[in-house]
């Protein structure tokens, strides 16, 4: 009976858990790591990016995103959309071709792989015969021409990849149909390019690596013309009128050939080396587009003088008298041009360039060709990300002020809307405004709108202006002087070079109610900033916090403190610093918390922690947490871990020793060198033979960095007796210590004059000595105390001050609840002792139920060093759910994780990409978008019928978006009811919109 009842409760709890928690990786923000291919569909207005890890990502209008991953772990080398269709073909490094489609399912499109194909040559043929080097998706929509390394062109029918063997264009057929002097003597080499005649789809141009180009008639299966270029071919472009062919070559030249007329041999009209005289690098791609009036646009990538500018990544745009060499900061992958008009055949409107680290879009119709700000694919890593901070549910007022401050920074961008408009974004409006703040190595903090699918840049704060650094902000090396040749213009914002690594931002805390922000950096600097809508000129007052507190025998070997500008600095509208604390020694700040109601900031380093009153601009408390035996903590940032230091030392010694012996060898004899080499080899062999060992030893107080402050926390709680609650400060260290201070704040009217005081109240030394990573006070109801000012803004229930509070100390190994004010252990959850994992990241989150709006629970979101996500209940500290999320080897991914207050999180999957995940069943942000074939198909061939019934109703372009949305919702409801009625497996493979 009893057992039965308990079982019932358990199953009920299981049901609640299902309503509360659900793990999803929802969307990837930022710029794909190592892009390797670019594709564009003018009809769908979608761009596709393939990466070296085999991912394929599609982007349309803002919010329209799709992602697919090839099963093969091979780089995507080419992406081609089939004209006027929703299919695209990818070519991978392993010579396999893959067909993808956007299939509508319950009103939402999904990217699906629907076929794969690898060319098979005749038996016994070398692999080069079928190694694909060029792909042409023929405008008929059902043919794919594949040029290979062996010089053959295979014709394949799509979809389905059926080889049309009889129509293949073999190298022999081509050599037989061109004069002997071009074809026979030497191999034509691989097929470099395949181009379709824009006016006659029966004709294709085959460009061979050695230079020869042949116009091939697909119907008569014979060569119509040949173009006798002699330079190594790089790319070919067939002008829109079909009259000319442009070819670019490896010597930096491009040629124009006339192909109209009946002469089987085309004549060279023009040959030019645009950056000539001296040897130039290859022009890897050439595009020429006509304009309605006047001269055409010419786009060339590369072709720079080899000796002087061979290292530049340039695309030259030439239009009439205007000639600009767009100078990118990373390697160019590919580019294309978007054209105006319903058929996308009008004026060139934008140049889209994919470089290795970002996507740059140039507005070609505005004077000066400004850059259009991208709504997605933003290079998060334009300076390396050093930390991140998420703030949920931003009040509208602060949101607007940040936006307007950001708008003032973006005046140099083009006013034109984003030119890519494909698909419809069907995702519901985000329920709240969320901010993601990223700290960067160059001392900037970037504010991102993280409410929805697009991580949109809002505002950039730079802290470098407060300090004197080596770089002078006025010297701009990129500004080209008048008459410079080539006419460079720097574009793109990816700039990984930091002038001073000390500027790096390590910790950020923003109070969303008051607009106060505090940021802390690598050289122990803590800035307190205030949001100001006007520009202001002010000096930033610096206060030094001596964290050593007279501890003797230490010598700081790390970097020096940053020098502060003495003179007033003009700060633009936005967050403006007004107070600065500099830790001494200037070690990296490891913990930072702001309490805007009390006007206090607390900060910690590896040496101790301090409390700063930013109203009176003085230090309230400085406490050293150093262990006298911990010498390593003092030596600076280089020696982070003992073993690394030791191994470094050893390897340096070894190098020195070998150098010494080498030097000796010069004066002495060869035998000694041999000896030294033998010794070195023996040492290396020994190192390799010695297995990886781990010492099993309890942590001792003598371990290194036990004093490092890991977490700081403000709480208004019962610290010393159970009848009066007082403000308190809590600090947790790497050595498992918790220090609690009772704070005395003067009454509000005397706040400016009377000092704030802090008295030590409690110390807890956890027996297991694991690093304390989180401290939390739970109120009488067992819920976490609200954030400062949250209650004052009526955004949180005021905490229960009647019942007894409890203290939750989260170490890397355990979650432990203590009573307050008398600290005694109440309960705990052991993690490491049970499964060997350790807490790396922890956050407090509120999980709403999917079933009812009014039910929710608080919980801890935990990321372990094994890459697993856990949810731990509060106040009972019981493990609720556990999901594998990040590979355990991905240390930087695990370290970068940041949780939101509503059960979502972000972590870096590459230096430039955040993966967004959700642990909450209710709060999920994921792309929902629909892409359909546009009804205007200029081609004579009709697109095939869409595969899914849901997209039969084609979008009428005259209808407005809301009506479409309604319609979709209607059809969706129908879908759902039918699903409910007959219970078929309509769900298979698809997603159902949650109502």
């Amino acid at each position: 009976m009893k057992r039965f009842r308990r079982h019932g409760q358990e199953s009920q709890r299981e049901r609640i858990k299902q309503e509360l928690y659900g793990f999803n990786k929802t969307v990837e923000h930022g710029f794909p790591h190592q892009p390797s291919a670019l594709g564009f569909s003018p009809s769908l207005q979608l761009l596709a990016i393939g990466t070296r890890s085999g991912a394929i990502k599609l982007y349309g209008g803002p919010g329209v995103e799709f992602m697919g991953l090839h099963d093969e772990n091979a780089a995507v080398t080419q992406v081609h959309f089939l004209p006027h269709q929703v299919e695209l073909v990818t070519l991978l490094d392993d010579n396999s071709l893959h067909m993808w489609t956007l299939r509508a399912h319950h009103g939402v499109s999904e990217l699906l792989e629907i076929g794969r194909f690898t060319l098979t040559g005749p038996p016994g043929a070398p692999p080069s015969v079928t190694r694909v080097t060029a792909v042409l998706a023929h405008s008929s929509g059902d043919l794919l021409l594949l040029g290979t390394e062996g010089g053959h062109v295979f014709i394949v029918k799509v979809p389905g990849f059926r080889e049309l063997e009889e129509r293949n264009i073999s190298l022999e057929k081509v050599t037989n149909s061109v004069p002997e002097e071009y074809g026979g003597r030497r191999s034509l080499e691989h097929v470099e390019s395949l181009q379709e005649n824009p006016v006659n789809p029966r004709q294709v141009l085959i460009g061979y690596g050695r230079g020869l180009m042949v116009v091939w008639d697909l119907d008569s299966q014979s060569a119509v013309k040949h173009i006798p270029a002699t330079q190594q071919l790089e790319s070919v472009w067939w002008t829109e009128d079909g009259g000319h062919v442009l070819s670019s070559h490896s010597d930096g030249s491009y040629c124009r050939w006339k192909v109209a007329g009946d002469d089987p041999q085309s004549e060279q009209e023009k040959s030019e080396v645009p950056y000539g005289h001296f040897p130039c690098k290859a022009i890897s791609k050439i595009i020429q587009l006509p304009t309605e009036q006047g001269p055409p646009f010419l786009f060339l990538s590369g072709g720079m003088p080899r000796a002087s500018y061979g290292d530049r990544h340039c695309i030259s745009v030439i239009h009439s008298k205007t000639h600009v060499a767009l100078d990118f900061t990373s390697r160019i992958i590919d580019f294309f041009v978007i054209r105006d008009g319903p058929d996308h055949t009008g004026e060139p409107s934008a140049l889209v360039v994919l470089v290795e680290e970002e996507l740059v879009v140039i507005d070609l119709q505005t004077e000066g060709w400004p850059v259009i700000q991208t709504p997605y694919l933003v290079p998060l890593h334009c300076s390396a990300i050093t930390c991140s901070h998420h703030v949920s549910a931003i009040p509208l007022k602060l949101w607007e002020r940040v936006l307007s401050a950001g708008a003032l920074q973006n005046t140099h961008y083009s006013k034109k809307p984003w030119p890519m408009t494909g698909g419809q974004n069907l995702a519901p409006d985000p329920p709240q405004r969320d901010l993601l703040l990223t700290g960067h190595e160059d001392g900037t903090v970037r504010f991102w709108d993280a409410s929805g699918v697009c991580l949109y840049p809002m505002y950039k704060l730079s802290t470098a202006g407060v300090f004197l650094t080596d770089s002078d902000p006025n010297d701009n090396l990129n500004q080209g002087t008048e008459g410079e040749w080539p006419p460079f213009r720097k574009v793109g914002c990816f700039d990984p070079y930091s002038d001073d690594p000390r500027l790096g931002i390590q910790k950020i805390h923003l109070c969303k109610y008051s607009g106060y922000l505090t940021v802390a950096g690598t050289a122990g600097q803590i800035l307190v900033l205030e949001l100001n809508d006007e520009a202001a000129e002010q000096t930033v007052e610096a206060t030094v916090a001596d964290l050593l507190q007279g501890q003797e025998g230490f010598r700081w070997k790390g970097h020096t403190r940053l020098e502060v500008r003495e003179e007033p600095v003009t700060f633009p509208p936005g967050f403006q610093p007004f107070a600065l604390v500099q830790c001494q020694p200037p070690a990296v700040v490891t913990a930072l918390t702001l309490h805007s109601e009390w006007k206090l900031v607390t900060f910690g380093t590896s040496h101790g922690f301090g409390l700063y009153d930013y109203q009176q601009k003085n230090n309230v408390l400085v406490r050293c947490t150093l262990n006298p035996s911990d010498q390593l903590a003092m030596e600076g940032p280089l020696s982070r871990v003992k073993s690394i230091k030791k191994s470094l030392r050893q390897s340096f010694r070894r190098i020195r020793r070998s150098r010494v012996s080498l030097r000796k060898h010069h004066v002495n004899n060869a035998a000694k060198l041999q000896q030294a080499n033998a010794r070195l080899e023996a040492e290396l062999a020994e190192m390799e033979l010695a297995p990886v060992q781990r010492k099993i030893e309890p942590r001792s107080p003598d371990d290194s960095f036990t004093g490092l402050v890991r977490t700081l926390y403000f709480a208004d709680t019962f610290l010393s007796d159970s009848s009066h609650n007082t403000p308190s400060l809590w600090a947790g260290t790497n050595g498992g210590s918790v220090f609690a201070y009772q704070l005395r704040l003067p009454p509000v009217e005397r706040r400016g004059e009377d000092p704030v005081t802090a008295h030590p109240a409690k110390e807890i030394q956890l027996m297991h000595r694991a690093p304390v990573v989180g401290i939390l006070v739970l109120d009488g109801h067992g819920s976490p105390l609200p954030e400062p000012l949250e209650v004052a803004h009526d955004l949180a229930r005021s905490p229960d001050m009647q019942g007894s509070h409890s203290l939750l100390v989260i170490s890397e190994e355990q979650f432990k609840v203590f009573t307050l004010p008398k600290v005694s252990a109440k309960m705990k959850l052991k993690l490491t002792a049970i499964d060997g994992s350790r807490v790396r990241r922890v956050g407090v989150a509120w999980f709403g139920s999917t079933r009812t709006d009014d039910y929710g629970e608080s919980g801890l979101t935990v990321l372990t060093n094994q890459g697993d996500l856990h949810v731990v209940s509060l106040p009972g500290v019981k493990l609720q759910v556990q999901y594998p999320c990040i590979r355990r080897e991905d240390v930087s991914g695990i370290a970068s994780c940041v949780f939101t207050k509503h059960g979502q999180g972000f972590y870096l999957i590459s230096p430039s990409e955040f993966e967004r995940f959700s642990l909450s069943a209710r709060c999920v942000v994921e792309p929902r978008s629909l892409v359909e074939v546009s009804s205007q198909t200029p081609s004579s061939t009709l697109p095939r019928a869409p595969p899914d019934g849901a997209s039969v109703e084609r979008r009428n372009s005259t209808r407005d978006g809301a009506a479409v949305l309604q319609e979709i919702q209607k059809s969706l409801e129908v879908d759902q009811t039918t699903f409910l009625e007959n219970g078929t497996s309509a769900l298979a493979g698809g997603k159902v919109l949650s109502s």
């Binding site: 035996s629 409690k762 027996m767 008398k822 600290v823 049970i834 499964d835 060997g836 094994q866």
Partner: protein, 405 residues
């Protein structure tokens, strides 16, 4: 060195006589004081406690006013002390059949050596005592039995396969390092499909003088199968390391010893253990042994039933300092019974005379703040008043600083 003594021990056990049952309940006693011998008989039941026996010996040897120390030779020939009821009864029970008592004058200048190997184990018996004393390098010191701590044990012999060994290491209170390293390796398992190679975790090194080495229960290349009851299968080396460190205060490792010759073999009621006797390792015992050696008496209340549950019991050893003024000068100590006292020797010693082994920590030169404050606590004359224990909250308000354990 460990292995050679192991072999020696194995030999010993083979020559060992089975203890005779004294049917008449009388123990034959041969006691020796300086050069004099006395022989007498003692009733096994009905003998009083240690004090009574002490007086009896004083009478028998006619040394009523001389302060003496009593020792006896156990079955292995080790000289062990008799100074309380417990070890007196143990001595009686271990009479084999003769109980050999050695009486020595209590002499401050020349401390008595009770030690393993202090008596030669050959047939010579008592004759070995003299050479042992004359040795220039005396054997290990053995303190009073109440100071004895269990540092290791083999547990769950009854439920484990014979090829496995579950070893419990007690780190608490000792300043010795656990002293071992682990590594990745390849383990060979026999499966129905045949022999299979699977990754495993092995002991790679024992630190000389460390706890692990001194117990003799763990050896290099022993495969680690479980840590505190949790299977380490499919766990990474770092994970296993973290688990072991997290459990280091009461570490229970189940190993498959590389040397399978010294396995515990269950045989009837008396356990004859090859190679794992108490000799050679201080206080190392086999909990399954029905007649525990004196060394284990102070901790003989350990049950050997469920190692995981026991592992859970010892943890709340956090040190909490609550103060209004300064946390560094605590002048008042309280034991609030939060944790388990036996696990933290400090709590039992507070308010008593400081016992060297439980308080003195030789690494005091590099003590952390908290340890320093602990050390200052153990000085009862710190503020001139004897330390009293109290667990009430009011006293905290009055006196300020409180340490709870």
């Amino acid at each position: 060195m460990v292995q050679s003594t192991g072999v020696q021990r194995a030999k010993m056990s083979r020559h060992q006589r089975t203890p005779l049952k004294n049917t008449n309940n009388v123990v034959e006693v041969k006691s020796k004081f300086e050069a004099e011998y006395r022989r007498f008989a003692l009733k096994k039941s009905g003998t009083g406690g240690f004090q009574e026996f002490y007086r009896l010996l004083q009478t028998v040897h006619r040394i009523p006013s001389v302060e003496v120390l009593l020792g006896y030779a156990d079955i292995y020939g080790d000289l062990l002390p008799i100074n309380n009821d417990d070890n007196f009864y143990k001595a009686l029970s271990s009479a084999n059949p003769l109980l050999r008592i050695i009486i020595q004058k209590r002499d401050v200048d020349e401390p008595v050596v009770f030690a393993t190997n202090s008596l030669q184990r050959r047939k010579k018996g008592l004759a070995g005592l003299r050479p042992a004393q004359q040795k220039t390098k005396p054997g290990l010191m053995i303190g009073h039995p109440q100071d004895f701590r269990q540092i290791s044990s083999i547990i769950d012999v009854d439920i484990l396969p014979e090829t496995h060994r579950r070893v419990r290491l007690h780190k608490h209170g000792t300043h010795k390092p656990l002293g071992f390293y682990i590594r990745d390796g390849v383990s060979v398992r026999v499966t129905p499909q045949g022999v299979e190679k699977v990754p495993g975790v092995f002991i790679s090194r024992l630190v000389r003088g460390g706890l692990a080495e001194s117990t003799g229960l763990l050896g290099v290349n022993d495969e680690i199968l479980e840590v505190n009851g949790i299977d380490v299968d499919s766990k990474s080396l770092d994970q296993v390391t973290d688990m072991m460190v997290a459990n280091s205060h009461n570490l229970i490792v189940t190993v498959k010893p590389a040397n399978q010759r010294n396995n515990v073999v269950l045989r009837g009621s008396k356990v004859s253990v090859g190679g794992n006797s108490s000799s050679g390792s201080i206080g190392s015992t086999i909990s399954h042994d029905l007649a525990p050696s004196p060394a284990s008496q102070s901790v003989s209340h350990y049950s050997n039933s469920n190692s995981v549950a026991e592992g859970d019991s010892d943890e709340d050893g956090d040190i909490i300092i609550e103060s209004d003024i300064l946390p560094y000068l605590p002048d008042h100590c309280v034991s609030n019974g939060n944790g388990s006292h036996r696990e933290f020797p400090l709590s039992s010693s507070l308010g008593q005379r400081p016992l060297p082994q439980s308080i003195f920590l030789p690494s005091s030169g590099s003590l952390s703040d908290s340890k320093a404050s602990l050390n200052s606590l153990t000085t009862p004359t710190h503020n001139g008043s004897p330390t009293k224990t109290s667990s009430s909250q009011e006293s905290m308000r009055e006196d300020g600083n409180i340490i709870t354990m």
